[in-house]
């Protein structure tokens, strides 16, 4: 019978099918459909995935050892790749001849068109550990057959002759991972304290709310600076890394706690929670089986809005010289080189690490906005 109906009014059936699909869709599907409509958020998601891909394959993408210093190649300007030569397609960069300016003692580099360094894919370079355990020396691209010290400097070099492009790749990993660690810690604190606050109410709620208000009315950067400066100088890079993450997330949890508390307060009165209570479900079951799934999307949205703040915090602290310390490489540490206006006037490419910082913050903001809109698929 249904077949007959279908052939009789195909249009209506199609609409009905769509409606049925809508009615039967899980919350996750609905959220995804809603999210897909937000064009900017979708692009941002793509950008962020790209950034994390860079973070994972940082060493593979780096063309030169990011820590290798060489006084003879300090402040080389960004180099362009020449795609064609007389023999057709043959990507190459010119070798550089550095001459010291007799008046300023600055190195001045002139490209040497007679020395072509071919740029190839999957070349052998400095060795590194892919994913931390596979030892290899293959890189996505690089020059073949250069003399030691010769390489491709896509974005130029810094004062110590380190390749900015390679350093930016590695910095992406450090900055993004520190943001992720910080947000995970804030998430834990925020969900725990916000949940307790919203669930139990009463004086516990009052105390936690006051703590949040106090934390929010304190100027954070001076406090961070104080804490970060007090870290012992003898600590290793890893120890400082974790300490900084901890310091940053100490403030970051308050926003997440407010979101979680708000959702708990709203959901506590919902019929399905009362129904679960009346049918004798334990408190743990009510929280984790019934309440939590209905606001995970809100938590995800709040998290992606909290991430850019974390990244800015780390960048600011490292920029001041109080965050991560060299030899660690992060966006903030790279920007530290650009702090001096005289240096910057001579080597403006040192300001380039500002681009990924801005891009990733923008992307996380759009993504968070899109997720927040999609978090209420029935709204």
């Amino acid at each position: 019978m249904s077949i007959a109906l279908d052939t009789a009014v195909p249009l209506d059936a199609k609409a009905a099918a769509a409606e049925a699909r809508y009615a039967q869709a899980t919350q996750l599907q609905l959220t995804w459909w809603r999210f897909r409509k937000h064009r900017l958020a979708l692009i941002s998601l793509f950008v962020i995935v790209l950034f994390y891909a860079v973070a994972i394959f940082a060493d593979f993408l780096a063309t030169t050892d990011p820590h290798a210093t060489d006084a003879r190649r300090s402040f080389i300007p960004p180099q362009g790749i020449h795609l064609f030569d007389d023999s057709g397609f043959n990507p190459h960069v010119y070798g550089l001849r550095g001459v010291r300016n007799p008046r300023t003692f600055q190195m001045v580099y002139t490209p040497d068109p007679t020395r072509k360094l071919p740029v190839r894919m999957f070349v052998h370079g400095h060795s590194y550990n892919l994913f931390g355990f596979i030892e290899t020396d293959i890189h996505l691209f690089g020059v073949e057959g250069g003399r030691p010290g010769e390489s491709i400097f896509l974005l130029g070099t810094d004062q110590l002759g380190r390749d900015l492009f390679s350093r930016m790749m590695v910095a992406t990993r450090v900055s993004l991972v520190i943001g992720l660690c910080g947000v995970t810690l804030s998430l834990f604190l925020g969900v725990l304290l916000g949940g307790i606050s919203g669930l139990y109410g009463g004086w516990v709620d009052l105390v936690i709310q006051r703590i949040i208000e106090v934390l929010r009315s304190v100027p954070t950067i001076p406090l961070w600076m104080g804490l970060a400066a007090a870290l012992p100088r003898t600590w290793s890079v890893i120890q400082v890394y974790f300490a900084i993450t901890l310091i940053i997330s100490l403030i970051g949890w308050t926003d997440l706690a407010r979101v979680v508390r708000g959702r708990f307060l709203a959901l506590r009165e919902e019929d399905f929670v009362v129904a679960a209570e009346l049918s004798g479900a334990s408190q743990g079951r009510i929280i984790f089986r019934h309440m939590l799934p209905s606001f995970t999307s809100h938590i995800i949205a709040a998290t992606s809005l909290a991430l850019p703040a974390m990244i800015i915090s780390e960048t600011s602290l490292s920029f001041l010289g109080l965050g991560l310390r060299p030899p660690a490489v992060s966006w903030g540490i790279l920007l530290q080189d650009a702090q001096n206006i005289q240096v910057l006037a001579g080597a403006p490419w040192l300001l380039l690490p500002a681009v990924p910082v801005t891009l990733v913050i923008l992307a996380f903001n759009f993504l968070g906005d899109g997720l927040r809109d999609a978090a209420d698929p029935y709204g």
Binding site: V214, S217, P219, L223, G226, G321, T358, F366
Partner: protein, 329 residues
């Protein structure tokens, strides 16, 4: 209203106590105590201190007593206006800070006013002309302001000013007034230099407030009373400005209170880039040199000033929003 005021005052006090404890922790965090650092500092310049003298100094500063007592002693000194001696500068901390604290506040407060002055009209415009070209331009600019950390913006401005205009855009005073005593000329000089750092600081906050104002006003504009006002023949200007804007102003004003700590915070790092004579560069120097009394005093004073500023904006909110004024009646 009295209850609201008292609650706010109480909260401000708790916050101040929290900040003081925090400051105390920061002062005590580096290994060794103040006397150790002082002796090391003296030894570096050639003179030495005997063990007896060191012991006497410890007793004098109460460093042999339990931590809580030490905190009490320290608080007592602070409340009397004695913040200790800066080890690097060898002068009382209050003297070193001088009017840098007031300049910090001047920069932050002018940034706050600028935020208001820019965000309010643009927010109203964006809501009234939703999806117009102007709205899109302002929204895009707003997002850029949100995404570029303010120290980066300061860096870029410095570079552009230096490279293309050939001038140094940093500082708060011209060279001839930098060391001078306060005078009308110096104050006017300050006024001329303030807008740039204030604008840099205000960027992110403005972007946020435009979004809040736009969203709030859009919610209000869809309400039936606005339709009624229009139906009765009020001009568009009057129909929007008279009631919807006032209703939309409340969340706007309350977000202002949260903005102030954020601005003070940002002023520290922007000052460093632009070379402003605020407490920012001093704090960094003190922290790097582990001059903990100076650093502690700056953190404490900044924190307390921020709390006072927030309290003032809370009172402003009370003045704007009658619902809070009538609370508890």
């Amino acid at each position: 209203m009295v209850i609201y005021l008292l609650r706010r005052l109480g909260l401000a006090l708790i916050t101040c106590v929290f900040i003081s404890i925090f400051t105390f922790i920061i002062i005590r965090l580096p290994p060794g105590d103040f006397v150790d650092a002082y002796i090391a500092n003296l030894a570096a310049s050639g003179s030495s201190v005997s063990a007896d003298q060191a012991e006497a100094m410890r007793r004098d500063y109460g460093l042999d007593r339990p931590v809580v007592v030490q905190y009490g002693i320290w608080m007592g000194r602070v409340l009397n206006g004695d913040f200790g001696v800066s080890m690097v500068w060898r002068r009382p901390v209050t003297e070193v800070i001088g009017d840098r604290l007031w300049l910090t506040m001047a920069v932050s407060v002018s940034a706050l006013f600028l935020t208001w002055m820019i965000a309010l009209p643009i927010g109203i415009y964006s809501a009234m002309r939703q999806y117009s070209i102007g709205d899109y331009i302002f929204t895009t600019l707003g997002f850029m302001g949100l995404a570029i950390p303010n120290f980066l913006l300061a860096l870029i401005l410095m570079y552009v000013g230096f490279r293309y205009l050939g001038l140094n855009v940093g500082g708060l005073f011209s060279a001839e007034y930098a060391q001078a005593d306060w005078s009308l000329g110096r104050a006017w000089d300050l006024m001329k230099h303030l807008p740039l750092p204030a604008a840099v600081l205000a960027m992110a906050g403005t972007a946020q407030l435009i979004r809040i104002m736009r969203a709030n006003l859009l919610d209000e504009l869809r309400k039936p009373y606005v339709v009624t006002a229009r139906a009765k023949g009020l001009t568009e200007m009057r129909a929007v400005l008279k009631y919807p804007v006032r209703a939309a102003l409340n969340p706007f004003a309350s977000s202002l209170a949260y903005l102030f700590p954020y601005l003070v915070s940002g002023s520290i790092i922007v000052s460093l880039v632009l070379g402003l004579p605020t407490v920012g560069p001093l704090l960094l120097q003190a922290l790097v040199a582990q001059d903990m009394f100076l650093a502690g005093a700056i953190v404490l004073l900044l924190g307390v000033m921020t709390v006072i500023g927030t309290l003032i904006s809370d009172m402003l909110l009370m003045w704007i929003d009658p619902r809070i004024r009538l609370e508890g009646r």
